[in-house]
């Protein structure tokens, strides 16, 4: 039976600690999340700002976006989690290093106690190459920023309050767990397994290869979309997303697609709402994306009327992202 055919059920009110969600199959009821996993705000805020190039004014753009949320950064240890996947001479696959540099600078301007960059690439084990070929090495050096290879970070077991997979616990990097503020910085891309990869899918990269291998195969075995939801449910600290949609990727993403000049930056503290907004900017239906639909039950908001748009009107900034045939159904927007 397809997950879409499962019946949503359960639960009384969002505030009850016993709150749980389940979907009923013909044979069993499976609890997929418990009350302590519930973080869905009544209303979320997402800001879309136009930005047509990777240039000097990026820091001002980032500061403008952060100001819309009055984000509290002073004296905090900030960890930036970009999307660093592959050799990327055209700046299409990875979060652009100049955006990372601008964010480092903005966080320091706002008084962050420390800013580091952390990533755990899933295919390439050659981190030196990933850093130098992506251009990130020069940013780390020029801005004197620490880089943490999450594939080899110390880990702690985190008991899950979500059960979309059967993991029960996840081994997560201490750098992520101990961050005062985690900033997910994905590239706005289509994805050949998940439909789109945005701030939630970007957290796949925090999973340590020293535990989950290269690629992080047990997570795929457990279900890519289910793993995305469980990973996001496991991170309970403060978070923020800055999506690099200046140049995105359409088609056979996340690596072999083609560049899409979408000229936006997207900001928000509810990853579900940020990703739903990005999906709409890409002219994809977020409610038809499995992990967003699941996360909308308890982690954040997908529906338009539950997301207050800050910044510019996203309607005028939409771009029609091509998708693979298998994701054509995402192109029919219903919400």
């Amino acid at each position: 039976m397809k997950r879409r055919d499962f019946l949503k059920s359960v639960v009384a009110t969002a505030a009850l600690p016993t709150l749980a969600c389940s979907r009923k199959t013909t044979e069993q009821r499976q609890i997929r999340w418990t009350g302590e996993a519930y973080r869905k705000p009544k209303q979320s805020r997402v800001a879309v700002l136009s930005a047509d190039r990777y240039g000097e004014r990026l820091e001002a753009k980032v500061l403008e976006g952060l100001a819309l949320f009055a984000l509290e950064v002073k004296d905090k240890n900030v960890v930036l989690k970009p999307n660093l996947v592959e050799y990327d001479p055209q700046g299409v696959i990875n979060t652009h290093p100049l955006l990372i540099a601008a964010t480092v600078s903005a966080m320091r301007t706002l008084g962050a106690a420390s800013v580091s960059v952390a990533e755990g690439p899933g295919h390439r084990r050659d981190n030196e190459y990933m850093l130098t070929a992506s251009g990130l090495w020069n940013v780390l050096r020029d801005f004197d920023v620490a880089y943490v290879d999450l594939n080899h970070d110390r880990t702690r077991a985190v008991k899950l309050a979500t059960h979309f997979t059967n993991f029960g616990t996840l081994q997560l990097p201490e750098t992520i767990l101990d961050a005062d503020l985690l900033v997910s910085m994905p590239k706005m891309k289509t994805h050949h397994w998940a439909g789109a990869t945005l701030s939630m899918k970007n957290l796949f990269g925090i999973m340590p290869g020293s535990v989950y291998g290269w690629p992080k195969n047990p997570l795929h075995y457990a279900g890519l979309e289910q793993s995305i939801v469980d990973i996001n449910g496991a991170i309970s600290g403060a978070r923020f997303a800055i999506v690099d949609g200046i140049v995105g990727m359409e088609g056979n993403g996340p690596i072999q697609g083609t560049a899409k000049n979408s000229a936006v930056l997207v900001f928000g503290d509810d990853f579900v709402a940020v990703d739903a907004t990005c999906a709409r900017l890409m002219k994809l239906d977020p409610l038809k994306m499995g992990y967003l639909s699941d996360a909308a039950e308890f982690l954040g908001n997908v529906e338009r009327n539950a997301i207050r748009q800050l910044g510019e009107d996203p309607a005028g900034l939409e771009q029609d992202f091509e998708v693979l045939e298998r994701f054509k159904q995402l192109k029919t927007i219903s919400a």
């Binding site: 050659d126 030196e128 190459y129 850093l131 290879d149 970070d153 020293s210 535990v211 290269w214 056979n252």
Partner: protein
């Protein structure tokens, strides 16, 4: 450079005698094994502290080995085929000295590693591969099993290449069980099946959703090292060309060190890789990666003590 790499390795050594992948990280069998090989590779500029570090690294590896003969990548984790393979490779360089502890360790490790294998594909994937391959998401023969990173998951190229080299080394030293021959045969077929179009290897997929994927030079060099006893085969020659093309674009310490070893075993000119190794160390210091530091010393030293395997009759598999 050799002295600087050696000093940085010794500086980052954990109190338990092992190395984390980076300083202040928990001891990691892969990093420890390469650091051990690098320090023991017989370079004249090695530090006076190297002998003690070599001895304690060996002891640390023995201590981390499980009762079943396996090693975890990091203490406390599940048994790892890749970590076990790298530990075998490292310890195999000290074999032949009538060291009972070493011999027992290698024998138990090879016995554990030999029957480990990647997960089988469900019947649907096997059916598609056989009868409608164009509908397969990933182009790979699902019946060929190498070794996975994590037990119960798919076979990948890098752990398989490590395991093939390790078991050939164990076979050469007389430590491998009888079943190793059939296991190596299947694993080699799996590696050649996963070879990218045009030669070379990446993490393990040559074609996904109809799109061909490019080889990675580090994985290509490592796999060629594991398959050195087929050096005259068309596939290996093609992959050597792919390695040259890919390593022109990638000048990391990891790629340079593995390429030096590979080219040495294949009697090829390694001068470009040596230049890249120096450049990488000067530019990034190998980003503080202890595995790469050890590998670099190994590449510059007497690596054959750890990397050569029994020569078999060359055959063309493709």
């Amino acid at each position: 450079m050799i002295r600087d790499i050696t000093d940085s390795l010794l500086k980052d050594r954990n109190p338990d005698g092992g190395w984390g992948t980076y300083a202040d990280r928990p001891t990691n069998v892969e990093a420890t094994a390469f650091a051990l090989m690098g320090l023991a590779a017989g370079l004249e500029a090695s530090s006076d502290q190297s002998p003690a570090a070599i001895a304690s690294a060996r002891e640390r590896l023995f201590a981390l080995q499980g009762a079943d003969g396996s090693w975890p990548l990091i203490e406390g984790q599940a048994a790892s085929p890749a970590a076990t393979a790298v530990a075998i490779i490292a310890l195999s360089g000290f074999a032949g000295t009538a060291d009972q502890t070493l011999d027992d360790s290698l024998r138990r490790a090879a016995a554990w590693l030999t029957p480990q294998e990647g997960d089988g594909a469900p019947w649907v994937k096997r059916f598609l591969h056989k009868w409608v391959p164009e509908l397969s998401v990933v182009e790979a023969d699902p019946d060929l099993k190498g070794w996975p990173w994590v037990a119960g998951t798919w076979s990948w190229v890098e752990p398989t290449a490590y395991a093939v080299l390790a078991l050939k080394r164990a076979q050469r030293g007389g430590y491998a069980p009888d079943a190793v021959g059939a296991r190596l045969e299947e694993a080699e077929r799996m590696l050649y099946d996963r070879m990218c179009y045009g030669g070379g290897w990446n993490f393990g997929n040559k074609k996904v959703l109809g799109a061909e994927l490019a080889p990675y030079p580090d994985i290509t060099a490592l796999t060629l090292i594991a398959l050195q006893d087929h050096r005259a085969s068309t596939a290996n020659v093609q992959s050597l060309h792919a390695l040259k093309a890919a390593s022109d674009d990638n000048t990391s310490g990891l790629v340079a060190a593995l390429t030096i070893i590979c080219h040495s075993l294949y009697n090829r000119d390694d001068s470009a890789a040596r230049t890249h190794l120096t450049g990488s160390f000067e530019h990034t210091g190998f980003i503080g990666d202890n595995k790469v530091r050890g590998l670099a010393l190994l590449a510059l030293g007497d690596h054959r003590r750890w990397t050569t395997v029994v020569e078999t009759k060359p055959r063309d598999r493709r």
